[in-house]
């Protein structure tokens, strides 16, 4: 499989407050030193709790945010590097957003919404109408809907429209940022199936962002688990659910309530301090919640190391001190 996208040591710092002279005083990394690559036709799932930097990472890759450091390569050429976004010649990367109510312009008709990407990519009138017919077929709409406006569609229908708009100009790469999080389960399943079908039919590559492990497992080949802006574990979908290595991944998997009464889960009553104080940013960021904390965890940040075939983890416990395992350089 050939690589389509590569991200190298990508970081993003948002300035939190400004002093009287307009200078930023304090930086928190929303994404820090993230590296990975995606192969053509693959779906990479990105999970992590709210605020861990999933959307920020997605938006940097899409070119909507400029990285603070690191670089992004698409099909071998740089599309973004520190403080700089290269203007794309073709809309190769498209996004599907979480909120189907704010991702469609309320003033436009369905036709206008679907036409927009085509017109920008200079399709002529006939090509436009042919492509719109194709798109309607993909998302199972009839032509009568073309004159309707977004408020006349339900949440699931809007998300379909957003998907049709994203694939309109045949981009090879789609970033889906929590595309099903605000939908009912039955509609969620329809959208997931639509995404799967489109992937097969159009040979798409997805970066699929979600906080729902079940959903990510359903659609992804490979999974990245993020915690506070860092990658803590990355492996094939099966591997990560069968043998999670990082304590956070394990906690995540154990916390998902399973709709099966035979599988009684005893949730942990212990309370964890989920907010990190500014003074605690040294060392492993998971140390406050980690059941296997060691002294070294407070001092040194663990590197992402290999712990199996195509399996990376950033935890001191998984990396014996003799450095037998290799630090992975991408």
């Amino acid at each position: 499989m050939s690589e389509i996208l590569r991200v190298e040591r990508l970081s993003k710092y948002f300035s939190v407050s400004r002093d009287v002279f307009g200078k930023s005083k304090h930086f928190t990394p929303a994404v820090k030193d993230v590296s990975f690559s995606i192969c053509r036709g693959e779906t990479l799932g990105l999970v992590g709790e709210s605020g861990c930097g999933k959307s920020t990472l997605g938006r940097m890759i899409a070119g909507l945010l400029s990285p603070s450091g690191g670089s992004i390569y698409f099909e071998g050429s740089v599309i973004a590097s520190a403080q700089h976004v290269v203007k794309a010649k073709k809309p190769n990367i498209q996004m599907v957003f979480q909120n189907p109510y704010s991702s469609l312009d309320p003033k436009m008709t369905l036709r206008g919404i679907l036409e927009e990407p085509l017109k920008i990519s200079r399709y002529n009138k006939e090509q436009c109408s042919r492509r719109i017919d194709e798109l309607l077929e993909y998302i199972d709409f009839n032509r009568a809907s073309l004159t309707k406006r977004p408020r006349e569609f339900s949440g699931g229908q809007r998300q379909r429209i957003a998907i049709a708009r994203a694939i309109a100009t045949n981009p090879p790469f789609i970033i889906a940022d929590e595309p099903v999080s605000s939908l009912d389960v039955s509609i969620q399943a329809q959208i997931l199936n639509l995404l799967l079908d489109l992937r097969k039919e159009l040979d798409l590559t997805y970066l699929f962002i979600s906080h729902d492990l079940g959903v990510v497992q359903y659609i992804s080949n490979r999974v990245i688990v993020m915690y506070l802006g860092r990658i803590v574990e990355m492996a094939d979908c099966q591997t990560i659910y069968k043998s999670p290595q990082h304590p956070y991944t394990r906690l995540l998997i154990d916390s998902v309530p399973i709709p099966d009464p035979k599988h009684k889960q005893a949730f942990d009553l212990s309370v964890t301090n989920d907010l990190l104080m500014p003074g605690q940013l040294q060392g492993c960021l998971f140390k406050n919640r980690c059941p296997e904390k060691m002294p070294v965890c407070c001092e040194q940040e663990p590197n992402l190391v290999s712990c199996g075939e195509r399996h990376l983890v950033a935890c001191h416990n998984r990396c014996p001190e003799n450095n037998a395992c290799t630090i992975v350089e991408i």
Binding site: M95, D105, E116, I120
Partner: protein, 285 residues
């Protein structure tokens, strides 16, 4: 369309609409209602005499004349045109300017936004009425000068309102999606950002319309408005200044000199205010 239906259903806004409609009709059919003399600038009031005292309504002069023999009826009818023209031009130009400056500033963000907002602050810190009066005094009499002064000092209002709206809209995901498709900033601004942030401008425009007319009238009344003889409600009131208290024993002798122009100004402003307030109420839900 829905909004018009709602406007008609409320008594206050219906009244506002009717008043405005009435004045629009008058303005449109002015040449028929009060035909101007031949070879005469229609915007200059017909003069029946050079008498220094007003004359009461009589045959052919339904509202009487002011001092200087100007026909009040003619002035009221053609004055409605003046009011419409001034209001429309000022509101259009000022809102265009405001939308462009405020909208682009907010959309671009960063330094551009900072600079435009400081300019807006600067303008807003000068008291509006005084600024307009000073500027017209400096420029001299004439409708065009009043319009210029009003535009120059009323666009910041629009700029501020559109800015806050654009700041909200530009974060919406449909705007981001359009950028992702490769849409240029100009395209995104014109097709998504502006149409979705223009709503509050409608309220501002209709409220300001009445306000503008009131100010023009006030300026003409104190004698720094239009040229003498121009068909303008404020000016007719200005001519009535010496006659408002009547003569000893007959305080209302010259009632026609001030009643008609005041009624015209009052109803016109009221109409726009009713309409503006109702639109605001409807849009606020």
């Amino acid at each position: 369309m829905k909004i018009i239906k709602k406007l008609i259903r409320q008594p206050l806004s219906l009244m506002g609409l009717l008043i405005i409609l009435f004045w629009i009709t008058i303005a449109v059919f002015a040449p028929l209602i009060a035909p101007p003399g031949e070879n005469q600038d229609p915007y200059m009031m017909i003069r029946h005499s050079y008498s220094t005292v007003p004359t009461a309504p009589s045959e052919g002069i339904p509202f009487g004349t002011t001092e200087g023999g100007y026909d009040i009826f003619y002035g009221i009818v053609w004055g409605s045109r003046t009011a419409m023209i001034v209001g429309l031009t000022v509101v259009t130009l000022a809102s265009l300017l405001g939308v462009l400056i405020g909208g682009i500033g907010a959309y671009a963000g960063g330094t551009v936004d900072y600079v435009t907002m400081r300019v807006v602050d600067l303008f807003m810190s000068i008291p509006f009425l005084i600024a307009v009066i000073v500027m017209t005094v400096v420029l001299g009499k004439g409708l065009d000068k009043i319009i210029l002064a009003l535009v120059v000092f009323s666009w910041p209002d629009y700029a501020r309102v559109i800015r806050s709206e654009v700041l909200l809209v530009k974060k919406q995901e449909y705007v981001l999606a359009s950028r992702l498709m490769g849409g240029s900033h100009l395209r995104v601004f014109l097709t998504h950002t502006l149409p979705n942030s223009i709503h509050p401008m409608i309220v501002l425009v209709s409220v300001n319309f009445g306000k503008i007319i009131l100010i023009v009238a006030a300026m003409s009344f104190i004698g720094i408005g239009t040229e003498p003889g121009y068909a303008d409600w404020g000016q007719i009131l200005n001519f009535a200044r010496n006659w408002i208290s009547g003569i000893p024993g007959e305080p209302f002798k010259y009632w026609y000199t001030y009643l008609y122009p005041s009624l015209a100004i009052f109803s016109f402003v009221l109409g726009w205010t009713f309409l503006g307030d109702s639109i605001r109420d409807i849009m606020d839900g």
